[in-house]
C-alpha cells in the first residue's frame, strides 16, 4: 500500500475529501447507470409474464366456444 495506515489513506495528506468524494460520486453514478435498465427490464418482463398468464388462464374458455375466441 502507498499509505502507512488507513487513516493516512483516508486523509491523503489533505486531498482525501477530493479524491474519495470523486470516487464516491462516480460509484453512485455508475451504479445508477447499471441499475436503471435492469430495473426497467425487470418491471416490463413482469408485466409481459403477467399478461401471458392472464391469456393462458382465459384460454380454456375460448377453446370450447369459437364465439368467445373472436371477441
Amino acid at each position: 500500500m502507498a499509505f502507512e495506515s488507513l487513516q493516512a489513506a483516508w486523509q491523503m495528506a489533505g486531498h482525501g475529501p477530493y479524491v474519495w468524494g470523486a470516487y464516491g460520486l462516480t460509484a453512485v453514478v455508475l451504479i445508477a447507470l447499471v441499475w436503471m435498465p435492469i430495473a426497467r427490464a425487470r418491471t416490463v418482463s413482469r408485466q409481459i409474464l403477467a399478461e401471458h398468464r392472464r391469456a393462458q388462464s382465459a384460454r380454456p374458455a375460448s377453446v370450447s366456444s369459437e364465439v368467445s375466441d373472436a371477441s
Binding site: 500500500m1 502507498a2 499509505f3 489513506a9 491523503m12 495528506a13 489533505g14 486531498h15 482525501g16 477530493y18 479524491v19 468524494g21 470523486a22 470516487y23 460520486l25 462516480t26 453514478v29 455508475l30 445508477a32 447507470l33 447499471v34 436503471m36 435498465p37 435492469i38 426497467r40 427490464a41 416490463v44 418482463s45 408485466q47 409481459i48 409474464l49 399478461e51 401471458h52
Partner: protein, 246 residues
C-alpha cells in the same frame, strides 16, 4: 462477419445474444472496476508534484476517453439508421446517449474536483473543458430530442442528424489542448514513443480504461435489451425467451 452484422439487426437474436454476453461480462467488468479503483486509490504511488489528488485520473481519464469514443458509436449508429433505416440502429443510438451523458458528467465533475486542489479552481472556461461541456449537452440533447417528438420515426431521424452534426466536436476536444493555450495538461499516454507516465501508474490506468470500455458496452446492451422488451411487449419470441428463463 456480414452474417453477424446482419443478425445484429434482428431483435430476437440480439436480445438472446446480449443476454448471454451480459451474464458473464457484467460481473467481470464490475470486478475489474473494483480492482482498478482499489489499485489506483491505495496502491499506486503518489505523484511527485500533485501528491494524492492525481488519483482522480484513474476515473477521470477512462470516463473521458470512453465518453468521446462512445460519441462515435452513437453517431455511427445514427448514420446506419439514417442510411439503411435499420430499427436496431436507432435503438443502439438511443441506448448510447444516457451512458455517454453519465460518463461525460463523471469526466466533468471529477475534473473539477481534481482542479480545485491542483489548479486552485473548480472550473475555467478553457477549450478542453468547454468542448467537453458541449459534448455533455449533445448527449443530453439527443435524449431530449427523441422525447420531444410524437412521431418516433421522425424523432429517430432528428436524433441521428444531431448526433452526426455533433461529431464535429470530437476532434476539437482531442486537439483542444494542442491548439489553444490551456490549463488542461496534454495527454500523458502516447501510442508511439515513451509515455510521460510511470508504469506503476500506467497499469492501473490502462486497467481502468479497459474496465470503462467494458462497462460502456454492458450498459449499452442493458439499455437496448430494456428498450426491446418495452417495444416488443406483444411479440411471441419475447414471451418464449422470458418463459424459458424462468
Amino acid at each position: 462477419m456480414w452474417q453477424i452484422i446482419h443478425k445484429m439487426g434482428s431483435p430476437p437474436w440480439f436480445y438472446r445474444f446480449a443476454g448471454t454476453v451480459l451474464r458473464w461480462a457484467l460481473p467481470i467488468v464490475l470486478l475489474l472496476l473494483v480492482v482498478g479503483a482499489v489499485w489506483g486509490l491505495l496502491f499506486a504511488p503518489p505523484d511527485f508534484r500533485q501528491g494524492n489528488s492525481y488519483r482522480i485520473i484513474f476515473i477521470h481519464v477512462p470516463a473521458s476517453v470512453v465518453a468521446l469514443a462512445g460519441y462515435y458509436v452513437m453517431a455511427f449508429a445514427g448514420a446506419v439508421s439514417l442510411i439503411w433505416k435499420i430499427k436496431m440502429a436507432d435503438t443502439a443510438m438511443r441506448a448510447v446517449a444516457p451512458v455517454g451523458a453519465a460518463l461525460t458528467f463523471i469526466a466533468l465533475v471529477t475534473g473539477a474536483v481534481w482542479g480545485k486542489p491542483t489548479w486552485g479552481t473548480w472550473w475555467v472556461w478553457d477549450a478542453r473543458i468547454t468542448s467537453m461541456l458541449i459534448l455533455f449537452f449533445l448527449y443530453v440533447g439527443v435524449m431530449a430530442l427523441f422525447e420531444a417528438y410524437e412521431n418516433k420515426a421522425a424523432a429517430a431521424k432528428a436524433c441521428a442528424v444531431l448526433s452526426l452534426v455533433g461529431t464535429v466536436n470530437i476532434p476539437i476536444i482531442y486537439k483542444s489542448v494542442d491548439w489553444w493555450y490551456s490549463l488542461h495538461q496534454p495527454a500523458s499516454i502516447k501510442f508511439s514513443g515513451a509515455s510521460a507516465i510511470d508504469s506503476s501508474m500506467l497499469y492501473p490506468l490502462l486497467l481502468m480504461i479497459v474496465a470503462f470500455y467494458g462497462l460502456f458496452a454492458c450498459c449499452v446492451m442493458l439499455n437496448m435489451r430494456a428498450e426491446l422488451l418495452d417495444t416488443h411487449r406483444g411479440a411471441s419470441w419475447l414471451q418464449r425467451a422470458l418463459l424459458e428463463r424462468d
